[in-house]
Assembly symmetry: none
């Protein structure tokens, strides 16, 4: 029996355009391998009458998932609405209050009356303890419908879904049993689909499914197959075509993978950043334990900083400009040398929205990777992107160059070099 | 009179996680400067009963905007549902058919029966011609409610909104609403609400509304009042209580505001970052034109880098540790000196998840702001947060210290100093 699920998202901010609903989509995405169908999603304001009406209407579903309105402030009305809908009264839960008091004591703050509101629940509700925030959730069974009230903060909501909702939604017995996920960088979605054309037909033939999810600037390909043999066949098909662009597999994280590879090479990397202003260093230090591969970096936003901190040649800067192969290679080499690191990674580009020219329009970014084997250069162009998108893509490109080099896959990419240090110092890697 | 708007998005693909709704948000975003309020958004499947029920429920609104289900294929049921809801019948529109035939002739294809479906409308509907696709929209006035049926393709939908819906939602010149938004940093949501207790009562009395939105780590307070006098009264109330924590107003951006203040002071800032690894530099360069206030920075992740790049005293490091008032002050002073900048901003903390100790648990972060008036220190503690949350909060804290200093508001915060450079060099600003 397929269960029918209703989703109710509560909050003024979801209806005035300030915030887009993430929680409804999260629940929907579980339907991929579970036996339920989302019948309807509603977004209503923090208004008791509206919330009660929506609960009434959705109670023809087997399960209702409610998101939001459990915060400490007075404009949050979900708990009052839950009580009104189920003809119940609110009741302060001593255990929840005690837990909140302990938390406050540990963190050295005093509970306010508002904090205490978060410990009130309909008296017949089952309280769902939290390990990820201050607001417990709760469950009300009313009119044959299991109704789950979860906090609206997406991180907390997802934790509650995992902990309390999944049990309620039976796994699909016919759902695929073998699955894999691969993330790729440097290919647009339609380019990627073209490169693995035929995968859909193969998947159908094997009773498998292929899904794509573009989360700028990375694309994830997910495969679900009835068994390992079918999965392997699909993976072989894909790997033969797009493996050069792979940046992560399964639950693995791209940036963590870069760090792991550096540790395997017993190497550190130094950075010299211009248009990204530090975001590349931020990416290299995102993973716990990053002191093993990252010790220092140089934010060389101004031209004089490029000269002073990483030894860019003023003559090269004057003749080639800051966004150029010659300068970015001197930045990467100079960063590695100044830091005493085997690897150096540099970015210099036009992030915009102004500052572009005919031959270096906004979105033009030069990259260099210095390695024990020499210095590589790549120019990328991200047209039609915002400043932040260009900076984000630049960080990903730099990280990808380093990963692909460390995994011996750099050859498959449009990269120039390696140039030897003497040529880099002479400003030789000119325009590509 | 504020108009109430209901939004109804139709399509199976919007409920199984394949596609996220963009059209609802598009309508919502118009509400900021127009006299309407979105009362509710519903997403339902391509099912006639569900669509009719939703139209019935939403017809208490002044306007309903319906998106989707107008395609040529048989699974699209919106036109049938519109007819059923308004007790009407479908009728083929000769003019629309002629236009579609012309279009087909121009583009050299033959109309199918399915294409012809797109020319059927409820007989009493007003047909809304399209210039952006094949599907016309239509308007049905029923039960006092102006109901607009638009194609679901976002590009087409937005065109219809612009052409046909906006007229219906023009601001009422005689009853302008006054609104304001303020963003605050450094106060938890419940602390903030406690500090402005009484605002809800005042708002009710003035016919105004107060909203809060926590978008970690910033909280936004939004005010909507019937007129400027009422708005001013609310703002005066709030400003008297929490203005020290203000970081942005209206559409202004916190980081851009920091940059603007630096430009007003004709000053640049240099950074020395440890646990944030570059994210602070990334924040300072996020705003276009940042070369006016940011020239260079030092990523001093390792202890030796702190010594080499910004002149931290090895003895101070050895006695106080990297996460300490003495070291972070030397980092800020050293960054400013090395860069020749009037301001220096430094961060050194335990971002975790490991590396904490009893007196410096994970989440402990030291900040220093060096200024022409001396060097300030602040220690913050972000317990129960992930590594990325601690790093993000650290960037915000550092930016806030700089902003508050530049705006003369630093005194209101728990900050030590200013210490003079000689004392900083001597490692004097010990544990607070």
């Amino acid at each position: 029996m397929i269960k029918h699920v209703g989703i109710l998202c509560i909050g003024d901010e979801l209806l005035d355009g300030r915030v887009s609903d993430k929680n409804g989509r999260h629940v929907m995405s579980l339907g991929e391998d579970r036996l339920f169908q989302v019948r309807e999603l509603r977004i209503v304001r923090d208004d008791e009458d509206r919330i009660v009406q929506a609960l009434d209407a959705l109670s023809s579903c087997d399960v209702i998932v409610v998101s939001g309105g459990l915060g400490p402030t007075a404009d949050d009305r979900t708990r009052e609405s839950a009580a009104a809908w189920s003809q119940d009264v609110l009741h302060e839960d001593a255990a929840s209050l005690q837990r909140l008091e302990e938390r406050a004591r540990e963190r050295g703050y005093t509970l306010t009356e508002n904090n205490r509101r978060q410990c009130s629940f309909p008296s017949r509700a089952t309280i769902l303890a939290t390990e990820v925030g201050t607001a417990p959730g709760f469950r009300v069974d009313h009119r044959g419908c299991a109704t789950f009230f979860f906090p609206g903060v997406p991180r907390e909501f997802q934790w509650f879904v995992q902990r309390y909702l999944l049990n309620e939604l039976t796994p699909d017995q016919h759902a695929p049993r073998a699955s894999a996920r691969r993330r790729y960088y440097g290919l647009g979605e339609s380019k990627l689909e073209t490169m693995i054309e035929g995968i859909e037909a193969l998947a159908r033939q094997l009773g498998a499914r292929v899904g794509y999810r573009a989360s700028y600037p990375v694309i994830e390909v997910s495969l679900k197959a009835p068994d390992d043999t079918a999965l392997t066949e699909l993976l072989t098909f894909i790997d033969a075509r797009i493996s050069p662009w792979l940046v992560a597999e399964g639950d693995d994280d791209f940036f963590a993978r870069v760090g792991r590879r550096l540790v395997e090479h017993k190497a550190t990397v130094a950075v010299a950043e211009s248009c990204t202003g530090g975001l590349l260093g931020g990416a290299l230090t995102r993973t716990p334990g990053s002191s093993a591969w990252f010790e220092r970096g140089y934010l060389t936003y101004a031209n004089q900083a490029k000269i002073d901190l990483v030894g860019v040649n003023p003559a090269t800067l004057a003749s080639e400009g800051a966004v150029s192969a010659a300068v970015v290679c001197q930045m990467a080499l100079g960063a590695a040398r100044a830091a005493g690191a085997p690897y150096g990674l540099a970015i210099s580009g036009v992030a915009g929205p102004t500052g572009g020219s005919t031959d270096k329009p906004v979105g033009t970014v030069d990259f260099s990777l210095h390695t024990p084997q020499g210095t590589f250069h790549k120019r990328a162009y991200y047209p039609g992107r915002t400043r932040e998108e260009i900076r984000t893509a630049s960080v990903y490109t730099a990280m990808a160059l380093l990963l692909w080099h460390l995994e011996g896959r750099l050859d498959a990419h449009a990269v120039r070099g390696p140039f030897d240090p003497a040529r880099v110092e002479a400003g030789v890697p000119g325009a590509s």
